[in-house]
Amino acid sequence: MIATRLKNSARAMYAPVAAILLTLALGFLLVMAITDDPVRAYRDLLFANFDSLGNFALFLNRATPLTLIALGVIFSFRAGIFNVGGEGQLYAGAITATVIGVTFAGLPAVVLLPLALTGGILAGAFLGWIPGVLKVRFAVDEVVTTLMLNIIVLLFTSYLSNQVIRDTKSYGAVSEMVPDKIWLPALPGVPGATSGIVVAVLLAIATWVVLFRTEWGAQLRASGTNLRFAKAVGIPADRRIIVAMLIAGGFGGLAGVLYVLGIGHRFEQNFSPEYGLVGLTCALLARIHPIGALATAIFYAMMINGSAYMQISTDVPRSLVDLLTGLLVLLMTARLATNKARS
């Protein structure tokens, strides 16, 4: 039984790994056309992350929000909700933690840290709750609501960071710093790396347990795969879906909080290189499996962070990553289609 299970998970890994390898191979052809030193470019793209502790820290700082957002997306997708609001939920968490941190800077850390943390999580969760309730009660399409909420939150945070909590002594649309007493400690041994990565890894495991090893998780997945079945066997499916969206939003919010407390220490208007969208891609590439999503998020963080070193050392622009992302999505979906045609 265990052997077949291992075999099954190996089979499930095969497709994404093959797609990633093929993407890298095709990308290499492109890089060859651009630069004289394609091997160098590729080495930097993937492995410069491990050249120094500093590089490694930056890479972990990328992986943390990606993982958390991907996990949130997994909760909502498993409940059958196509939640594309990761970016908005991330921003909501980040701005709330910042506002709380800046406003109540006088409070002691034991009070302020939990306050900023829960505040940010709740803000993200609230942003997930709105489309969840609208979907369940009024059958409003969640793609539309989550996308629109993204824009609302992005513009609102832009207003706040430009007008209300702007640090006038700094350049750009950034808030004042949150007090350093609530900064997260660095990852032991890796200065500059957020210890949020530990939280992300633990939550990936917790997500797997909750979804696949509890009755609640089975009910959530049943609601997501066949709502009418779930209701017929007595599962309170509407409640499961709304809670799944609360959790999804909460994960996005947490990603924002951990960014502010562990990495940025303030709200920056452009702190996210589309973490929401990339996190969604990670989740989809991992077939909405939490452990798989941890792996894809790490891979993406490697590419996003490594592209900077690649751009410095060779003349390959970092937008190569966008291209590789497109290729990867294309290859994954192409594979799915041929499977369908065969069966």
Binding site: T214, R221, N226, F229, K231, A232, P236
Partner: protein
């Protein structure tokens, strides 16, 4: 050696998918101008065989002779070029287009080599309809047609391509009983015009009604070919299952049975939809311990609404529902389950199962507590698997291990999973809707036995079915639904098919 009368001859066809053997050895000869039925249980390999003929799959070994020549059918286009027309179970029609546009979809008749010649297509379609007496309007929009009419459009598509050999894959699975009768007439008409029809089914009544010869397939092998007139339904059933089958139920002449206290009571239950139309009209009934109450009726006369109202999935606007003396009119689905209700919905893929989830999870869905599948919050994976393995064995769910996604099972085995889950609680009331729809005789026999065993244990059973033979086989009392009303409830011993049939058509003389 090929007989000159044979339009199609298959010799030793085998097909494997990876290490799964779908067809072991199939021989088949189809004579020109006959209606030939391929009969077999679900999973016997009927569909694989048809997909080979339609060019969707290639045989692993064996030869196909068409009109005396060995052919290779590389793809569906090649198949239609060779004169093989396939009508699939699920239609490939564009609902927003007219009948004529659908018939010529992808091969429009052109004017000046460019413009679609609508008039010519309509005229051609009208000719075809008239020739085969299909009774369709070529300019009707397909979306407005009934299922039976859409099927005729599909047949028309194949005929317009001049198919000499028409393959119908389980054509009656989607049809109501009167539509089945119409289809049987259509097929008789095709035969009269010299077309050859290959008809796939597992319903014995249809075999007898429609065919000249019948070939039975079992476990991927062709077992026998007979002239239909020379064999009985029981003979065919035995070949399909490999043993004698007794799909008889209780029958009429059983000893009188005694029933206990009423378990389910409906008191003047009415339901209206948002538009104000009455879906359930003042329905009162009761089902007692040990009794099977059958609800007959043509589909769409309120049976779905009745089952959903009792199961707690749709609200009623008037009346009350009692289970074991407790009013459950407003109770939630889990409350009703705790009060002792088990529900086998009419469509297993719609409400009965989540097809992407495993057999184990589908079995566990409403049984976590009762079957002790949890330790605290944590689901005990070993117990779930043991529970599933036990149910798979007890209910003879074939081709399944606990991890199998339930959607990959055949219809009969899926239905066994639903029944196994619902019976695990040994509910006081078993509400079963269309329990054997799309199932073969072997699986039906098994499910009948389970339903009767529940009644023998003193449970109340409410059986809703549009299959009259099923109602007669199982029920102690029979009620008939017509346009939201429960017309009359008759004791099994006083009921006959003529009376019930008349009630199903809404003939109120019979109700009076």
């Amino acid at each position: 050696m090929t007989n000159a009368d044979d339009i199609l001859k298959l010799s030793a066809i085998a097909k494997t998918f990876g290490d799964k053997v779908a067809l072991k050895h199939v021989d088949l000869d189809v004579r020109r101008g006959e209606v030939h039925v391929i009969c077999g249980e679900n999973g016997a390999g009927k569909s694989t065989l048809m997909n080979i003929l339609a060019g969707i799959h290639q045989p692993t070994s064996g030869t196909i002779d068409l009109n005396g020549k060995t052919v290779a059918i590389a793809d569906p286009i090649e198949a239609s070029r060779l004169g093989i027309g396939m009508v699939h179970q699920h239609f490939a029609l564009v609902p927003s287009m007219t009948v004529a546009e659908n018939v010529f979809l992808g091969r429009h008749i052109r004017k000046w080599g460019f413009f679609s010649d609508k008039a010519a297509m309509v005229a051609r379609t009208r000719d075809l309809i008239a020739r085969y007496c299909f009774g369709l309007d070529p300019e009707a929009v397909v979306g407005t047609l009934s299922v039976g009419q859409r099927q005729r459009v599909e047949i028309l598509k194949a005929l317009a391509f001049d198919a000499k050999l028409l393959i119908l894959d389980e054509p009656t699975a989607v049809l109501t009983p009167p539509e089945v009768d119409e289809l049987i007439e259509v097929i008789a008409g095709l035969r009269a015009l010299g077309r050859t029809v290959l008809f796939i089914t597992h319903k014995l009544r249809e075999v007898k009604a429609v065919s000249d010869r019948v070939t039975v397939i079992r476990h991927g092998e062709s077992i026998s070919t007979h002239a239909t007139g020379a064999v009985s339904e029981a003979d065919i059933a035995r070949d399909m299952v490999g043993r004698n089958v007794f799909l008889v139920g209780r029958g009429k002449n059983q000893a009188p049975r005694t029933f206990g206290a009423p378990v389910l009571k409906l008191n003047r239950v009415s339901m209206t939809n948002a538009a104000g139309r009455l879906l359930l009209d003042n329905i009162s009934l009761d089902v007692c311990e040990g009794e099977i109450m059958g609800i007959a009726g043509v589909d769409g006369n309120g049976q779905t609404e009745l089952s959903e109202a009792i199961a707690g999935l749709m609200d009623i606007q008037a009346g009350s529902i009692e289970l074991r003396g407790r009013t459950i009119t407003e109770a939630s689905v889990p409350d009703r389950q705790r009060a002792g209700m088990g529900f086998v919905p009419e469509d297993r893929l719609d409400r009965g199962l989540s097809k992407t989830m495993s057999v184990a999870e589908n079995l566990a869905a409403s049984n976590y507590r009762r079957a002790h599948l949890k330790r605290g919050f944590y689901v005990d994976q070993d117990r779930i698997e043991a529970f599933a393995a036990e149910k798979i064995k007890e209910f003879d769910v074939r081709g399944a291990i606990p991890d199998t996604p339930v959607g990959t099972l055949s219809g009969g085995n899926m239905q066994k999973v639903v029944i196994a889950r619902e019976l695990n609680r040994d509910p006081d009331l078993l509400l079963v809707s269309q329990p054997t729809r799309g199932l073969d005789v072997g699986a039906s026999e098994f499910i009948y036995a389970r339903i009767m065993a529940a009644a023998d244990r003193g449970r109340a059973v409410l059986l809703i079915s549009s299959e009259l033979s099923e109602i007669f086989a199982l029920s102690d009392r029979i009620g008939v639904m017509y346009s939201g009303q429960l017309l009359r409830i008759i004791d099994r011993k006083d009921a006959d098919e003529v009376t019930i049939g008349a009630l199903m058509n809404g003939s109120l003389e019979a109700a009076a």
